[in-house]
């Protein structure tokens, strides 16, 4: 069951990723990206990361992509704007370089470099205590400093966005 679900969801994710690249209309690109993110959220649930899946749906598919769609509609882009391509001969080498990158990544995956030490959080333990509770515990004990720095980062980003959106720069 899980195997079929993985293959179906992975196929949808890859297809929507391809559509995202080759779609002319930016609104449809954004909608395909939302579909990809939903597929990745399903994969997170398969990997027993329920909290991350919920955050993926709420923050990525909900907040960030709505921001993207909002900006696309605000800017009122013409669909045919990409017709005048200054570097049309860039496409084929770009795809070849992408395939080469994928080959390099597969070689790394085939090698034995990706071996790690087994941790203490087994699936039974996580299911017993609860995924969200464990994450919260770690976030407010071992990772307290990064967590606080994150708040400063968000604050700076909010100020930066407001400054950049002002009429006169």
């Amino acid at each position: 069951m899980e195997v079929y679900l993985f293959y179906i969801v992975a196929t949808i994710a890859v297809c929507t990723g391809v559509y995202l690249i080759f779609e002319k209309n930016p609104v449809f690109s954004a909608l395909y990206l939302i579909q990809t993110m939903v597929c990745i959220a399903v994969l997170y649930i398969l990997l027993e990361a329920q909290f991350i899946a919920a955050v993926q749906m709420i923050v990525y598919a909900g907040a960030i992509m709505v921001l993207f769609l909002f900006v696309i509609m605000l800017l009122n882009l013409n669909i045919g704007q990409e017709k005048k391509d200054a570097l049309p001969y860039q496409k084929i080498p770009a795809i070849l370089i992408g395939i080469a990158l994928f080959a390099v990544l597969c070689i790394v995956l085939k090698s034995k470099l990706l071996q790690g030490k087994q941790g203490e959080y087994t699936t039974a333990y996580i299911n017993n205590v609860g995924n969200t509770k464990l994450l919260g515990n770690l976030l407010f004990t071992d990772y307290l400093l990064p967590f606080e720095i994150t708040s400063v980062l968000l604050f700076v980003a909010a100020i930066g966005a407001i400054m950049l959106a002002k009429r006169k720069i």
Binding site: G17, L20, F68, L105, L153, A165
Partner: protein
Amino acid sequence: MITITHYLVLSAILFTLGVIGVLIRRNAIVIFMCVELMLNAVNLSFVAFAHYLNSMQGQLFVFFTMTVAAAEAAVGLAIIVALFRNKETVNIDDMNIMKW
């Protein structure tokens, strides 16, 4: 049986799609969305490693990556809106004032 390699190969495919999109597209917003796709691909491999190595650190890093991605989206889209106000376009071929 789904192994970690399945998830890592899927993650590699999505990352490669993002790279190709950044290279071949000319619309700044679509390029930005491809960057988000690459971030998602890396997050997927983080969670896959966390699950198969019985660890929690991968999920925490995904949490921080999402925060950084949210900040990046806000600032980046503000920059794109500011550029559109000045240039009336989001085509990156027209944004070459720093070239010479």
